[in-house]
């Protein structure tokens, strides 16, 4: 019962190891290095890397800017949601305000075009969970996160809040169109 008894030799770091162990350690180590490599590789060659562009902001500043932007690019009012539908130009900025308990406004993007999506929250933490593609990004108040997105399929998407944000959390769902 030696795992619960002192080792026979005090200098345990000198004990020999079995070939099963040695072989496995080498294999496992190589695999771990591959795991590290994959992250770096994807930064160089992959197309899905989360941007780290972030600015400190305040609820007021972010809302003011998002509203001015929305006014400029609003194309219509959505009949199901009642929200303005905003279609920014290719390569331009797009804003989404997360707050208790809505995402505002409804975006209309075009397939294959790239946008700079600004995300921030006016109150608590929220979750930006784009469905059904299943891209999930944390939205933290006080920080404006600029994510560059390129939709690769047209359709109607939903944005589900997947960070608990109070009693209305499960009602927090928004919409996004890709033409």
């Amino acid at each position: 019962m030696s795992a619960i008894l002192p080792p026979a030799e005090r200098l345990w770091w000198k004990h020999p190891l079995d070939r099963v162990e040695g072989t496995w350690i080498v294999i496992a180590f190589v695999w771990c290095m591959i795991l590290v490599f994959m992250m770096v590789f994807w930064h160089l060659y992959g197309r899905q890397n989360l941007s780290t562009e972030t600015y400190a902001t305040t609820a007021d500043a972010f809302r003011t800017r998002a509203e001015a932007w929305a006014e400029k690019y609003t194309v219509r009012v959505d009949d199901t949601t009642g929200q303005p539908v905003v279609a920014p130009p290719e390569g331009g900025d797009a804003y989404i305000i997360a707050r208790l308990w809505s995402f505002w406004p409804t975006l209309e993007l075009e397939k294959g075009k790239t946008y700079r999506l600004h995300l921030s929250s006016l109150d608590y933490n929220h979750g930006f969970s784009l469905q059904p593609v299943n891209i999930n990004i944390q939205v933290v108040p006080g920080y404006e996160h600029v994510v560059t997105v390129t939709p690769n399929q047209s359709g109607t998407y939903s944005i589900v809040c997947n960070e608990f944000c109070g009693i209305g959390h499960h009602t927090m769902v928004g919409r996004l169109y890709v033409k």
Partner: protein, 566 residues
């Protein structure tokens, strides 16, 4: 120096219990089981609400119950039990008295009061903030105060453990180095000190914020430091349950570690490489650089993963070697077929090892990869992963250990051994399934901590695919089976304490000096280096590796199909 106390030697196990330590181990273990019971009842509320066809609780109750379930299970059940394990691994395994039993009782009292204060805050309402309590969402001050009191108590408990090591060393109650299991417990306690310090650094200001003494805690800093606490505490669990795996291999099979160097080296990796693991909870966050994420992601360059992969081989490997020495040498797996599958201490641990590795380990590494995190962050995949680690891994291991302790520590005959025999299978396998279907639903995007996946009445409602509903239904069904398994555990352990036949646990010693323990002769202990001693385990490890590689790359494939992000 000796202090007035007595020792008894359990005739069944040969373990020597000091009277003071024994009472403290019992008190902490009993408190743990009480919180497991509460957490289990809450789990019923959570699961029956997330089961779409049942959708039991109202939203406010659901969020309240979920907050309490997370805290009671992850913090109170686990840490009370771990304090009991620390006292056992120091006082009992080193055969010495517990240092400062009075202070240990103070620690126990602080933990108990803290747990009650926190629970009361949650049940009263106004503190349904989830265990993570991300600012600026605020709970009542007593919510944080309860956690702080509990943490201080646990920290004091760790120092009692360290003090006990000193007592053992000074009184020379063992020869040479501490046993491997104690070594593992030391790693757990060292990590615990770091963990609790992080917890204090973030919870104390948040408590002051809730009292209005200070006016801001930065939400992102909060997340980073909270996870330095939240993740490291999982590393305590891993160090603790791996230690128990070695313990069980020793007491059930008489197994020796294949090599002390490898096993201890792997424990040291946990200490050296886990602290920045909070990074993998922040992969989808703004404001952190790519370099910081890549370097710190997943246990700092995966050395902690390496450590767990090593233990995953050496624990069953040690069992295999021991069994082969008993003559079970036919084929690759006679040793495993002839293992004591009817002994819940063994079966619980074995089911825990396999589930922890295949379900918890593989999914954890996938989620902890910087880019892959985007396809699961905050989905119900996450609780799917950590129920595989902290329930199948840690909780089931603790359950298995309890079956061993009932006769030796509690000195009772187990009531209903038939039920106990099937309990690890029921609990373990239904938990396996539960984790798998949660991961399945999470892969389809279903959110965690969400009361209503149907978004009833919402004009913008999102319609989840039918498969997601199916998965969540299966989550509910398997949860009920797992809860039944948990209930059996509580019935058997509490029932044995209350109604089990008393058994002779060895008379109290007359002198207050412990009987010292001699290190076994080198020949009796004999180490590794027998060539290729555990081929069956090695094959199992290779199967694990293949599953790991396949699953890992399938997820990269999945990621490559989503929108371009840069």
């Amino acid at each position: 120096m000796s202090i007035a106390t007595t020792y008894r030697t359990c005739p069944r196990s040969g373990l020597q219990f000091e009277a003071g330590a024994e009472k403290l181990i019992i008190a902490n273990a009993v408190a743990a089981v009480v919180f497991l019971l509460i957490g289990g009842l809450l789990a019923l509320g959570v699961a029956l609400t997330r089961w779409p066809a049942v959708h039991w609780l109202q939203p406010d109750t659901f969020y309240q119950v979920l907050t309490a379930h997370g805290i009671d299970m992850l913090i109170f059940w686990i840490i009370f039990f771990e304090i009991a394990v620390l006292y056992f691994c120091s006082s009992t395994l080193l055969r010495c008295r517990l240092a400062t039993p009075r202070i240990a009782w103070l620690a126990f009292a602080l933990m108990l009061v803290g747990a009650i204060v926190n629970n009361y805050a949650v049940y009263k309402g106004g503190s349904s903030v989830m265990m993570t309590s991300y600012v600026p969402m605020m709970a009542e001050p007593s919510f944080y105060l309860g956690l702080i009191l509990f943490a201080v108590g646990a920290l004091v408990g760790c120092f009692v453990f360290f003090g006990t090591l000193v007592v053992a060393k000074r009184d020379k109650t063992y020869e040479g180095s501490v046993p491997l299991v104690t070594f593992g417990a030391i790693t757990a306690a060292i990590i615990a000190v770091f963990t609790i310090a992080s917890g204090a650094i973030i919870l104390v200001p948040t408590w002051l914020l809730s009292l209005g003494v200070i006016d801001k805690v930065d939400p992102l800093i909060y997340r980073m430091i909270w996870w330095a606490f939240g993740h490291s505490s999982q590393q305590i669990n891993v160090a603790a349950h791996v230690s128990i795996w070695y313990l069980v291999a020793a007491v059930v099979f008489g197994a020796k570690p294949m090599s002390e160097r490898v096993s201890r080296g792997a424990f040291l990796l946990y200490i050296l490489f886990l602290q920045l693991a909070s990074a993998h909870h922040l992969l989808a966050d703004p404001g952190l650089s790519t370099n910081w994420k890549v370097v710190n992601t997943s246990y700092f360059m995966y050395f902690a993963v390496l450590a767990s992969m090593i233990h995953g081989l050496t624990v069953p490997g040690a069992m295999e070697v021991a069994q082969r020495q008993k003559g079970y040498t036919r084929g690759l797996y006679e040793w495993l077929r002839r293992a004591p599958w009817g002994n819940p201490t063994f079966s619980g641990v074995f089911i825990a090892i396999i589930g922890f590795g295949f379900l918890g380990g593989i999914s954890g590494v996938m989620m902890g990869t910087e880019q892959l995190n985007m396809i699961i962050h905050n989905t119900i995949y996450v609780p799917g992963h950590f129920h595989a680690t902290v329930v199948v891994g840690t909780t089931l291991t603790f359950m298995a250990l309890t079956y061993y302790l009932i006769p030796t520590l509690f000195r009772r005959e187990m009531i209903n051994p038939g039920l106990a025999r099937m309990q690890p299978y029921l609990f373990g396998f239904s938990m396996y399934f539960f984790c798998l279907v949660m991961m399945g639903a999470g892969t389809l995007g279903v959110s965690r901590r969400h009361w209503d996946m149907a978004f009833s009445g919402m004009p913008m409602a999102y319609e989840w695919p039918g498969a997601a509903y199916l998965m969540m239904g299966l989550v509910g069904i398997s949860a009920v089976a797992a809860i039944a398994g948990g209930a059996i555990y509580i019935y058997v352990t509490v029932g044995s304490l209350l109604w089990g036949k008393r058994i002779d646990g060895g008379a109290a010693s007359l002198s207050s000096k412990p009987t010292p323990l001699m290190a076994p002769a080198a020949v009796a202990q004999g180490y590794g280096s027998q060539g290729f001693a555990a081929p069956g385990t090695f094959l199992l490890a290779m199967v694990f590796l293949v599953a790991f590689i396949l699953y890992y790359f399938v997820n990269w494939k999945y990621l490559s199909t989503v929108w371009g992000l840069s």
